[in-house]
């Protein structure tokens, strides 16, 4: 008889982006047998698309004095609309300088000041130029560095493996089942699991995210008893390229770019008179939508991001990638004319609930990066803090998983039953003669999410949205794939992703409907104020039989007093 568990490792990292690779490199240092499973080649992970930079209180900018981690922490907590856990923020900001230095010493080519130090630029919601960058390709540079590090060691890579379930016994995660996309076969892996699967932006039809960001980790963790936290907090990036919604970095405004309405007026003066274009993302995104809804946009769709006054030299040196994107995808040269931009989904603040050591409530299951919620971002993440979170908490997850490793019994029969269950689901999709194709449901889901759970929300509209999500879920069993081949059956993979996305949308909706206030990115037209008495707390979603149970947990407050946000 063929062995059921085909691959045995100490630690299975699911996801090959920055958080996953940082975790893998760390776990390897502890002498563990580490494997990385990714549904794409690691270099194709979404981390590669991060542009503007990574925050750390290095204080490298000449002639403006020192920066301190406490100031970084204050900006982060204020930016989060006080929902971030201050103990988690402290770790993030305290460890930031060493994390950036470590990446530099691993080989990342950061941009430099004339004095040879790592260059830093101003970013939204930050009181100091604190964002280290590699031109406007920071994520690309960091991911390639960590890929270089992780492939020069003894880490086993399983590229193009799609995880279909986690295997759990007595509240302990023992491994996973994954579809080998190339062969079309389900295979069992044993080991502790670190989830690093990224966000779930693709449940929205306007998103900066890579097409692979479908929230796989959140679904997998929830299914075996881990909680999800603050799923309703979705960041909409103010400046995405009109129509294609490709990211136009906040760094463009950090370098001095202006937002202008149809008349050429810098409208941010009306919304954040001090911070102007560099107010936090939630505020700038709402300002743009408001301006467009007032008829002051261009073609009633977008506004202008004007960089022309920065000059050719600065644009070519600091924002070469933005220029390329504008030229390639909009036929606009930002040296000559403004870039058409509109807000688009960008980041998932919520995710798998973890403590400050990246542990979920299930033993042997950890999460780091965008798929996790520590929570360092609360209700609104500051630009430059997501890359930071991936490396700081990826490292912690790798260490913790290595330390906590114990000899556990992985019963073959348990893996077999999980695999057979997943096999059955796959067969139900691939053996029908007719039905609904995944793209039909996916398209409706994405439209529903943007329309009902977008930048501005309203109780009644959200309840209608939830009904639509439920209707789409009810149609899922009719889904079918025409392609009968095993090899690279992408329609099958996308159908399986859709199943995760339908669940995540419901979780998001439940959290959003229940939160009767406006805080950070969650803005309700029927509850326009923040209501600390009732809602200064985290939403927690848990599996209870076949339904989602909603609870709340307290926020870890600390040195920063909860105040109104003003910019």
């Amino acid at each position: 008889m063929e062995k059921e568990i085909l691959f045995e490792h100490d630690i299975l990292v699911i996801g090959g982006g920055l958080a996953g690779l940082r975790a893998a490199v760390e776990a390897l240092k502890y002498g563990k047998d580490v494997a990385v499973l990714s549904k794409v080649h690691p270099l194709r992970s979404h981390s590669v698309a991060a542009q503007g930079g990574i925050n750390a209180a290095l204080g490298n900018t000449p002639d403006i004095g020192d920066d301190h981690w406490e100031d970084h922490a204050f900006d982060t907590v204020k930016g989060s609309d006080y929902l971030a856990d201050q103990d988690a923020v402290e770790i993030l900001c305290k460890k930031a300088p060493e994390a950036v230095i470590e990446l530099e010493q691993m080989g990342t080519v950061f941009s430099r000041f004339a004095n040879g130090k790592i260059a830093q630029r101003p970013f939204g919601g930050a009181g100091f130029p604190r964002t280290c960058y590699a031109a406007d390709r920071t994520g690309h540079n960091l991911l390639h560095t960590l890929y270089e590090q992780s492939t020069s060691g003894d880490i086993k890579f399983y590229d193009e493996y799609f995880v279909t379930s986690l295997v759990e016994d007595n509240d302990r995660c023992l491994g996973c089942i994954a579809l080998d996309i190339k062969e079309g076969k389900l295979k069992a892996f044993s080991g502790s699991v670190i989830l690093a699967t990224g966000g779930f932006g693709r449940i929205y039809n306007r998103s900066t995210n890579a097409l692979i960001n479908t929230g796989d980790g959140a679904y997998l963790a929830y299914e075996i008893g881990a909680s999800l936290e603050d799923m309703e907090f979705i960041q909409f990036h103010p400046t995405t390229l009109y129509d294609s919604n490709i990211l136009i970095t906040e760094g463009a405004r950090g370098e001095g770019g202006y937002l202008r309405d149809r008349e050429g007026k810098r409208f941010m003066k009306e919304f954040a008179p001090e911070a102007m274009e560099l107010a936090p993302r939630d505020i700038v995104a709402r300002a743009i939508i408001t301006v467009v809804e007032e008829g002051r946009g261009i073609e009633d769709e977008y506004v202008h991001l004007d960089l022309t006054h920065l000059g050719e030299e600065k644009i070519k040196e600091r924002l070469p990638g933005i220029r390329e994107i504008a030229l390639d995808f909009a036929g606009v040269d930002p040296i000559e004319e403004p870039i058409p931009v509109q807000p688009g989904q960008h980041y998932s603040m919520g995710g798998v609930a973890v403590d400050t050591e990246c542990q979920t409530e299930v033993a042997g299951l950890y999460a780091a990066g965008e798929c996790a919620c520590v929570s360092t971002h609360g209700a609104n993440r500051l630009g430059g803090n997501s890359l930071l979170e991936t490396v700081v908490f990826g490292k912690i997850a790798g260490r913790k998983a290595a330390e906590e490793l114990d000899d556990k019994n992985a019963p073959e029969s348990l893996f077999k039953s999980h695999r057979e269950k997943d096999e059955k689901l796959i067969k139900s999709i691939t053996t029908k003669d007719q039905g609904i194709v995944y793209s039909e449901i996916l398209q409706q889901l994405k439209e529903t999410m943007f329309q009902h759970f977008g930048v501005f929300r309203d109780g009644e509209e959200m309840r209608q949205g939830l009904d639509k999500i439920k209707q789409l879920q009810a149609r899922y069993p009719e889904i079918y794939v025409q392609d009968t081949s095993l090899k690279f059956n992408q329609a099958l993979v996308r159908s399986l992703e859709l199943r995760y996305m339908l669940f995540i949308s419901e979780a998001l909706a439940l959290g959003a409907i229940a939160r009767e206030e406006s805080r950070g990115s969650h803005y309700r037209k029927d509850f326009r104020n923040r209501r600390d008495d009732e809602f200064l707390k985290h939403t927690v979603l848990k599996k209870e039989k076949d339904s989602i149970k909603l609870e709340y947990s307290s926020v870890n407050l600390g040195q920063f007093e909860v105040k109104e946000r003003e910019y």
């Binding site: 979404h46 590669v48 698309a49 390709r137 690309h140 492939t151 390329e324 909009a330 025409q482 392609d483």
Partner: protein, 249 residues
């Protein structure tokens, strides 16, 4: 718009014709998704970022290796964005270019797995062989290594590489000599060689007939590179340095 698309299950290969309604701003990747979602869900191609940064979707489009996500159908139709690359045998295989349709094929110089998906194992093997990982010496400084902005500028030309493998598929030498390590791996090696922080002797790693010395400077690599990386420049400089070193001995 008519698309002629290469199909294969790894054994048998053929071409399929698809009609895809044109939309403003449509990229070749958009068209492939239209086909997969509406016309034939068995069509396989790699994708991820759709913004020309991840390097997943390099393929042969109208006989030029390019990223499908970055290639605008409209511009292609108008005959724009056609780099003037030197011809090589792989481009003469398969369907001929035809004015009435857009031709989409897998990257040449790699085995096909399915449809537009190729096996890039060899490409990454060559990359790994040249040990692309910073090696410093001694105790690292407490803070960052200092670097001149000018040095960073030169390095960036090479760190911009996204390892999409378009250059490997465009290189006439790689077509003829499959042992040639190829433009991307050599550019990466050169990137570490010129990094002031790096203390490893690196140029020797490719100082052989299938390394630096195999290049014939057709410059297709640079012409098809979506990030404008110049492997040809790196190779030229590396050779000059090696030659000087030998002459000095």
């Amino acid at each position: 718009m008519k698309f002629k698309v290469f199909r294969s299950n790894g054994e048998k290969s053929y071409y399929d014709d698809f009609n895809v309604p044109h939309e403003p701003g449509q990229t070749v990747l958009d068209a492939l998704f239209y086909i997969q979602e509406k016309l034939d869900d068995s069509l396989a191609f790699r994708y991820s970022c759709r913004g020309a940064v991840c390097g997943s979707c390099a393929m042969l489009i109208n006989k030029v290796p390019r990223l499908a996500c970055r290639t605008q159908v409209e511009r292609l139709k108008e005959g724009e964005d056609n780099p003037d690359i030197k011809g090589y045998p792989a481009l003469k295989e398969g369907e001929k270019l035809n004015e009435n349709s857009l031709l989409v094929e897998p990257l040449p110089h790699f085995p096909v797995i399915k449809d537009l998906i190729v096996d890039t194992e060899k490409f990454f093997e060559y990359y790994q062989e040249l040990k692309p990982c910073l090696k410093t010496e001694g105790k690292p400084p407490e803070k960052e290594y200092f670097m001149e902005p000018e040095d960073v500028k030169e390095l960036e030309e090479y760190t911009n590489c996204i390892l999409c493998a378009a250059c490997f598929a465009a290189c006439p030498v790689d077509g003829e000599n499959p042992d040639f390590r190829g433009p991307a791996a050599l550019a990466k090696l050169y990137r570490f060689h010129i990094d002031v922080r790096d203390q490893e002797d690196r140029l020797e790693l490719a100082d052989h007939k299938d390394g630096w010395w195999a290049c014939e400077f057709h410059t297709n690599c640079n012409k098809v590179c979506p990030k404008n990386v110049p492997p040809n420049v790196a190779i030229g400089k590396a050779r000059a340095e090696l030659k000087k070193k030998k002459d000095d001995k």
